[in-house]
Structure formats: C-alpha cells, structure tokens
C-alpha cells in the first residue's frame, strides 16, 4: 500500500467478546472489533492511503446489541446481535481516526471496543499505540446492565495495544525500532477515558497531527498529553542510538493492580 493511487479498501470488523488477561493474570470481561470472527484482545487496525474510500462491514457476533461510529466523523449505527452494517467513507486527509462502539458512551467503548483508522501519506516505518486504562469491575457492571459512575472512575490497569510492561516490547506493532536518522511515525489512539501524558526519553518528537489539540501541530515535545478519544501522529527522527523508555508520566499509570512497573511503559530501540 501507500505507493499506488487512491482506491477502495474493503475491510470487515467482527464484534467479539471474551476476556482480557492483564499483566498479573487478572482477567476482565473484554470486547473488541476483531479482524476475523475469532476473538482477539486487540482491535483490528485499518490502514488507508489519503484519498482511499473505505468500504467497511461491521458484524456483531456478540449476544447483545452494539453500535458503531467513527468518532466525530460518522453517525451512530445500531447493530443487533448477529446483524451487520456497512460504512462507506472517503478519507481525504492524513490523520488518525478512532472507531468505536458509542452505545451509552463511554460505557461500551470502555469494554474495549475502540480501534484506529490510520490515513497515511508517506512510506515511513510506522508504529501503532492504542492506549487504554481499565477499571476492575466496571466492565462487568456495564455488561450486567448496571451504571458506571464515571465521576468516580479510578482505573487499575494501563495498557498499550492491550498489553502492559514488560509485554508491550513484545508487540512488533508497538515497540519502536529503527536507526539514527530514520523517520519513524508513531500513531497514538487513546481509546480510554483518562488523559495520558506520554514522556519520551532520549528524544523530542514532532507533533504532526492532534485531533483534539490541533494547535500543538508542529511543536517539539518530550512529553505529549493525549486526551480521551484523541488521535495523535508523532514523528521521531532519532539523532542518537540507544534504548530509551516511553511511559505515561502520570506515574500511577506505570503500575498495574497497584504494582510497579506493570503499566504503560515501553522502550524505543534505536541502532546506530
């Protein structure tokens, strides 16, 4: 992809539900938009070129009703159990969009139903971070028809692509690797409800796109906040080699189940 002309891209998302095993072995009810009819703890990522038309089918394989929307771009569509809906949308500009289940927002998104649509205009090495926090008990409450008081939201676990430290570095989509002088693009989608403040050791990154804070485009940052449901594109051109951490500088988010350092913490690995 990315070398040809704009095209129609056909994709399928499958709403499946099971559980997410957290870093300490605790499991929580979890649902995702999988790229196949089989449950995946990660949401399927949709990659497009600028100008592409997305022809997307979303299939609800769960036993309960869901909805679908591209955040702040398309309207909400209801999907009954066993039913499917189609979304056709052209993406004219580079960016990062979050698709999600907007039902009783943010309830169903919080179950794990949030992924990214990446629209590119380059061929640089790219990495993808779907960041999210999890509060024990809230997913069960939602699935049981209860009400979550988001005013008391106090998450216990913090993940990147569904994983916490030290497992994040085993995700080749997440772990940033490259060489000095490379242009490395990092796509960040905050599908949680908390603000995260990502601190880069070793480098400043350039903000290329920020869906919620567009005034920051062009800024060079070593600590970049990401609002709830915000999409970011960060450009990293490393000027030195080494292994450097990236982590949430709300240091509570570097823990999991109140254990340090089981949280949102990964490392960049840059060769000479």
């Amino acid at each position: 992809m990315l070398s040809g002309k704009a095209a129609t891209v056909y994709e399928h998302l499958y709403i499946t539900a099971d559980s997410l095993e957290l870093v300490d072995g605790v499991k929580i009810p979890h649902a995702t938009f999988s790229g196949s009819p089989v449950f995946s703890p990660k949401n399927h990522r949709i990659l497009l070129n600028v100008g592409d038309q997305l022809d997307l089918w979303v299939h609800n394989l769960d036993s309960i009703e869901h909805e679908f929307a591209v955040y702040q771009l398309t309207g909400n569509q209801l999907i009954a159990p066993g039913d499917s809906i189609q979304v056709i949308q052209t993406f004219s500009n580079p960016g990062l969009h979050i698709y999600h289940d907007p039902k009783n927002f943010p309830d169903y998104t919080s179950l794990g139903l949030g992924g990214m649509i990446v629209v590119k205009d380059h061929n640089h090495a790219s990495f993808y971070w779907n960041i999210k926090e999890h509060a024990l008990g809230s997913n069960s409450t939602i699935l049981n028809g209860g009400t979550v008081n988001w005013g008391d939201y106090n998450p216990d676990y913090f993940t990147l692509n569904g994983r916490s430290n030290p497992e994040i570095n085993n995700d080749v989509d997440a772990r940033v690797t490259g060489n000095v002088g490379d242009t490395l693009m990092i796509y960040v989608a905050n599908t949680g409800q908390s603000i995260h403040s990502l601190h880069f050791h070793g480098y400043h990154v350039k903000v290329v796109y920020a869906s919620d804070h567009s005034f920051r485009v062009g800024w060079m940052k070593d600590t970049q906040p990401v609002s709830a449901m915000e999409g970011l594109i960060l450009e990293l051109i490393p000027d030195q080699s080494g292994e450097y951490p990236v982590h949430d500088h709300n240091l509570v988010a570097t823990t999991g189940g109140n254990v340090y350092p089981y949280g949102m913490f990964t490392t960049l690995l840059i060769d000479p």
Binding site: S197, H199, H201, Y203, G218, D222, T223, V252
Partner: protein
Amino acid sequence: MLCIPFLLFGCTSFGQADTVISLISKVDIAPQYQLHDGNKVMLMGYSNTIGGSIHLPSPTIELREGDSVELNLWNLSQGPPHTIHLHGLDVNQQNDGVPMLSFAVAHDDTGTYRFKVPHPGTYVYHCHETSVLHVQAGMYGLLIVRPQSADTLTWDGGYAFHSERAWLLTELDTNWHVDSIINHTYDPLATTHEILDYNPQHFLINGLSEHQLIGNVELNAAKDEIVYLRLAGIGYLGNQVVFPPELNATVISSDGRPIPTALQLDTLEIMPGERYGVLLQSSVDLNSVLSVDYFDLNTGSVVNTQNVNVTVEGLVGHDELQEPNEWTIYPNPSTDVITLKAPDLPAGEYEIFAITNSGMIAAHQQINLMQPKELIHLDLSDLQSGTYTIVLATNKSILIDKLILLKP
C-alpha cells in the same frame, strides 16, 4: 567553570566540564517537612549538603546553553539506590538515569552523569528508581538552561524579559510519606513494588500551599514589566493555570523548545512531565489572583485550587532611577531616529532594546559611554510602524518607556 561547592567531591575538576554540580540523595528518618496545616511528613530528596533538611522541591539546577556538565550524585539514602533522570534534556542512554538501562547509585556510593545542554529552556530532574514512589517521595527539582547571550532572553533571538519566576506544580499524599515507604527496604532481587492508591491531600507550588504561598509564591511586578513564568508539572494530577486577563499571558515555549506560533490565552493546561514558558505583562495596576487547579486525570474533576496573589503596581526600575534621571524619548511618535535623554547618564556599558508588543526584540544596540552623557541617538528606520517598548539597561538598572513609530 561554574562550580557548586560540595563537601567531598564538589569542586574536583572532572575532564573538561564547564559546570560541575553535586547532589546528595537523602531520606528523612523522622517527619520534618512542614505542610500548610502544621503537620510534618518524611521525604526523600536531593540536597546540596549532608546536614541540611530535605526541601520540596530539590535545589534548582541552573545551567548555561552549550555547557558540558558533570552532575555528581552521592547516595546517602540508607536504603534503595537512586538515580537522576534529566527529564527533557535528551541525554544519551548511559546518562539517562533509568536504572535498568543506564546505572543506579547504591547507598553510600557515587555516580556521575555527563551531558551537554544544547537547548535553553525549562526542564526537571527526578529519580527514576521505582519512580512512582521516589518522585512522590520528593526526589525532583527544576533544571533551567539559560541562553548563551543573556540571562534576560528566553533564548538567543527570542524574547526579552525583565524578571522570571519558576513554579513546579505537584501534589503530596501523606499516606505515601510514612516510614515504611520513605525508608522502604531494598531487595536487589525484587523487580516489582506495590503501591498504595494515590489520594493527595496537599497541592503544591514549589513545595508550598495555601497560606504558605503568601510571601513565597506570588507574582509581584511593575506595570509593563515583562515576566517570564516557567511552569512545570511533576505530579500525578493535571494542572490548569488560570491567568488574570490583564496579564496578557502568552505561551512561547514548551518542553524546552520554542513553539512555532506564540499562543495568547487565559487558561493553560499542564500535564504530568510537561513544561511551559509564559510571558506575562500588564499595562495596568492590578490586584488579583492567579489560580492553579489540580484535576483528576481520570475524571477531569478539579480536586483542589491554589490561589497565587498577583500585584502589579509602579513602574519598572522606578526604585533604581537615579535622580535626576528623568528620561525621555523624543520625538514620540517618531518616524526613524529617536533620542534618549537621561541627564547625567553615568559612564558605563548600556544596552538598548526595542521590543514589540508580542515581546520580540526588534532592535538591539550596545553602547559604551566613556564619560557621562545625556543624549543617546538610536536609528530605528528599519522597523515597521507600531508601538514598541524601549529599554535602556545596565547591569544595575533599567529604564523603560513606550514609543510609537509612524512610518510615512
């Protein structure tokens, strides 16, 4: 070479460093740091001296752009190792202060961080050993890099200012400041560490809150004085700084880098680890407050607000004027060449700045008066029409006035 003295290994010359700084990491064995409510808590922290108390924040490190720096750490903590992470300086891996990737300094051992500081700006330093605990425990401080050219410039070619303030924003949860945490045992084989829920009760600016801010953290300025406010967040909550509109707050930098377009705003959000540079200037007398909200990053709800008194009155340098140095600029308005008249201006070195309304230096001239003089001429024919602040400065005093340039 700038050298901050230090008992045992302070001023020894290490290689070719321009600046050598030494810090001691320490822990309290009893509560000593007094909070606004009179209660005392225990801290971990960095200090310049063996015997002194630990303060919040730790000593501010001040460096000069381009310096080669050796930063020595002597760990007298009695327990766990410590490090210094130079947050935002982008030092190499060896000197990054992350235990598993660079090095940690064990109890009664020393370590040295070697690095350069190429970018003027506002940074922080903190311990990265079990960082969630050690940062909250008090192991953090500000680090300021000043430009090569002048202490009153934000960076070379940047904005001029008359005075500066630096505020480090954080919180304190007293339940994390008990002996079992501050003096926690160190097991070199342990790879994890349990923490308590974080529910801070104290909301700090430079380690102080509530009535402690009065007389210590305030914004007192003269009319038209340009104040450079450095702001940094090192807590686990978000901050929202609300400026009185009369201060004309303008954000010019973040994380040690200029931002492409300055932002004029009344409210600035600062998230954990971020830093901002803000210019403040009031053209009117003012008695007001600047509020700092502390909000939960999960809910967005404001859990506390600290108020900083703001007073703007008088004229910049008013107390420093030497009678009868009533200075004038004429003609005003002018088209090109102006004359600065200041009777009995003593011999010495002077700098003259023409500063735009947005704080940019539009013209700069250095003058060395070999003998007392009362008239100085300045050619501003290259400048565009507009209102400028004309600053005549020595190392002891500063004279300021407004000038209107009207080009034909």
